[in-house]
């Protein structure tokens, strides 16, 4: 019995379970007392929102799958059956459909926050790389999910994106045939996409746990980007950040609800209300909005293989971001130049998004090339060089120092605790 966990919970049932499987102690440690920097702003809500969004997608998806039929003859009609005849089917479908957009809105803000405050820098490189992996998995899941309703844009989107792989010499053709399970996007393709679309969210859940586990080893970054130095710098996660995350959650749900109930078709393409027709390509094949910047990069490069490589490269470059950024300062607050250039990079992404939504003609070609060039310039040239040249602003001594110097009263919690041991 010597090795048995000693539970400190008073409730006998909780204590009994906790002694045998210390899950309550674990939750208390990781989400109850977990020491969290006290200076988070609302941008730190978005990780929690992503978890909620993932759960919403999985639950609505499971119920949609009860009525969906992954067969080219019936897929489109089965989705309309869900919309028209299944009780609250329209609600499940609209939540799932627009939930994908919400997911990307939230994840883009989450990524931006990480970039602005240097959350990818040591010792959080692996945490960041799990995050980029999650983005890739989300993109794959979203792409395959978009094929399932088997509308015109589903079909032609699938055709165009799978054909990207044909750009690779020699192996390209066989890879595309293998992806399709035939000689065009057809029933085998739809079947396997449905299978994978059901599987990948659980892979995402698994990687999310790794992401959060890594976060709880290093601890969170914060808007100042400096390390936690003493218990005065932190607050227990509960009730402080549970309360703060709840505020963000309510606002997020409100935005989500307004889209689902009042403009559910706003972010979709009208052409996906037309059943897939392998004999008729739409005048313009446009992916969902969250893929537009990447689609623009693909089209901005005049060579087929080059475009494909650049598009994949635009994500791949994120993996090595922790080593491209040579500055030791995390937060953009103390990097006067980076703080402005990050917005130029954001502008380049927005321009790419606009370019992706237009036919590659005239001004859009030029804009696309300039923005693509800047996107990569930012990562490959500006960040490595800027880290050497930029003169950062002086960093505060600690997260709580400004408060102390203002002569505030004794700090709650931390003030009475022993100094945190440095790990």
């Amino acid at each position: 019995m010597a090795g048995l966990h000693k539970s400190e919970f008073a409730n006998p049932v909780v204590n009994w379970v906790d002694t045998r499987l210390p899950i309550f102690t674990f939750m208390q440690k990781e989400y109850g007392t977990f020491p969290t920097p006290k200076n988070f702003n609302y941008l730190w809500n978005f990780g929690a929102l992503l978890m909620v969004n993932l759960m919403i997608m999985i639950v609505t998806g499971i119920f949609l799958a009860m009525n969906y039929q992954p067969n080219v003859a019936t897929a489109f009609d089965s989705v309309q059956h869900i919309m028209r005849d299944v009780n609250y089917g329209w609600l499940l479908r609209y939540v799932h459909q627009n939930g994908a957009s919400m997911f990307f809105i939230v994840v883009f803000i989450h990524i931006f926050r990480g970039m602005y405050y240097g959350s990818y820098k040591a010792p959080r490189e692996l945490l960041w790389m799990f995050g980029v992996t999650l983005l890739l998995l989300m993109m794959a899941t979203a792409f395959m999910g978009y094929v399932l309703p088997w509308g015109q844009m589903s079909y032609w989107g699938a055709t165009v994106i799978t054909n990207l792989f044909s750009a690779f010499p020699i192996v390209g053709g066989p890879i595309v045939t293998w992806l399709w399970g035939g000689f065009s996007v057809d029933n085998p393709t739809l079947n396997r996409f449905f299978s994978l679309h059901y599987l990948l969210p659980f892979v995402i859940t698994g990687v999310s746990f790794l992401h959060v586990a890594a976060l709880h080893i290093t601890g969170s970054n914060n808007p100042l980007g400096i390390d936690v130095k003493s218990p005065q710098d932190t607050l227990p996660f509960h009730p402080y950040y549970t309360a703060k995350d709840s505020v963000g959650l309510c606002v997020y749900l409100l935005v989500f609800a307004l889209i689902v109930f009042f403009a559910p078709g706003m972010l979709g393409d009208p052409l996906n209300s037309v059943p897939a027709n392998p004999l008729q390509t739409p005048a313009e094949i446009v992916p969902e909005w969250y893929f537009l910047p990447f689609y623009a990069i693909l089209r901005s490069v005049p060579s087929k293989l080059g475009g494909v490589l650049m598009m994949f490269g635009s994500i791949a470059v994120l993996f090595v971001l922790p080593w491209l950024d040579t500055s030791k300062i995390r937060s953009a607050r103390f990097r006067p130049v980076y703080r402005q250039l990050i917005w130029v990079w954001v502008l380049s992404v927005i321009v790419l998004g606009m370019v992706g939504g237009h036919r590659p003609e005239g001004i859009w070609v030029v804009l696309g090339r300039v923005a693509t060039a800047y996107y990569f310039l930012h990562f490959l040239v500006i960040l490595p060089v800027l880290g050497k040249l930029e003169r950062p602003l002086p960093l505060p001594e600690s997260i709580s120092r400004p408060v102390l110097s203002l002569g505030g009263g004794p700090l709650p919690g931390g003030a009475t605790a022993k100094p945190m041991e440095k790990v």
Binding site: R84, V247, L254
Partner: protein, 259 residues
């Protein structure tokens, strides 16, 4: 580097000016005027379908559109959504013949429709439809309002957009000129004319009214859940606004001593 923000602003300004100015000229050939905004009973967060108008629209669909256009996703029973009574639905369905299984000799037979029957198709398959329509395929109308850029306004624009082609425009064989249709050449002859439909409720049968009615019906057919959706949405939005307030107050209380 203080200047970065200013030239960033200038760049953004340049983009926002250049894009609208230059972009349209590039794609002039395919451009079609954006459909004029109509006043629909179902637009806005509280809008719902004008049921009388939708019922007149169904009358137009039955008398005119259904000769060429299917609505495969709809069943007669669903007409209760625009306020048609169960008895009327039965009568409407019984007036059409639909395939009703096999007879004792194993041959497919037709019988009167029931409220569960889907709308009768004008053509047995796509090939027959094309043969009957000069090679063009009349699209299914079940989702037509969702399936077109511009939605209800666009459909209304097409229905009322027939005119003589401008001088010098070369029309394809059997094609009609339409102000709203992309490329301005449409295979469908003008389907609706003023005073074409006899309304039993005394509504003036102008072309505008007829087009409004049939588009209202088609909008309902595309989004039959809309009214319920908006009603639930209002309640949920109010609830979430309230919860946001409460949650923010709790957060302030919890954080009261931190700063």
């Amino acid at each position: 580097m203080r200047n970065v923000r200013s030239w960033l602003g200038a760049a953004a300004l340049a983009c926002s000016v250049a894009v609208p100015v230059l972009a349209p000229s590039m794609a002039m050939a395919q451009e079609v005027p954006a459909p004029a905004k109509q006043n629909w009973s179902f637009s806005g967060p509280f809008g719902s379908y004008d049921l009388a108008s939708a019922q007149r629209g169904f009358q137009i669909y039955s008398q005119v559109c259904s000769n060429c256009h299917s609505m495969n996703l709809l069943a007669y029973r669903q007409l209760s959504g625009i306020g048609v009574s169960p008895e009327q639905i039965k009568a409407i369905a019984a007036a059409v013949t639909v395939p009703s299984g096999l007879n004792d000799q194993g041959e497919p037979v037709d019988g009167p429709g029931t409220s569960a029957s889907t709308f009768k198709r004008p053509f047995a398959n796509e090939k027959i439809a094309r043969i009957a329509n000069n090679g063009a395929l009349p699209p299914d109308l079940s989702l037509i309002v969702n399936a077109r850029e511009g939605g209800a306004d666009y459909i209304y624009g097409v229905l009322t957009g027939y005119a003589d082609p401008p001088a010098g425009m070369k029309m394809g064989d059997g094609m009609m000129y339409n102000k709203q249709y992309p490329g301005h050449q449409i295979a469908m002859p003008q389907p609706l004319h003023a005073e074409q439909i006899d309304y039993s409720d005394g509504t003036p049968n102008t072309l505008d009214q007829e087009a409004h009615d049939v588009v209202t019906f088609l909008a309902w057919a595309s989004n039959p859940e809309m009214v319920e959706r908006k009603q639930i949405g209002v309640r949920i939005a109010l609830f979430l606004v309230l919860m946001t307030g409460v949650t923010y107050a709790v957060k302030r209380q919890v954080w009261a001593d931190v700063h």
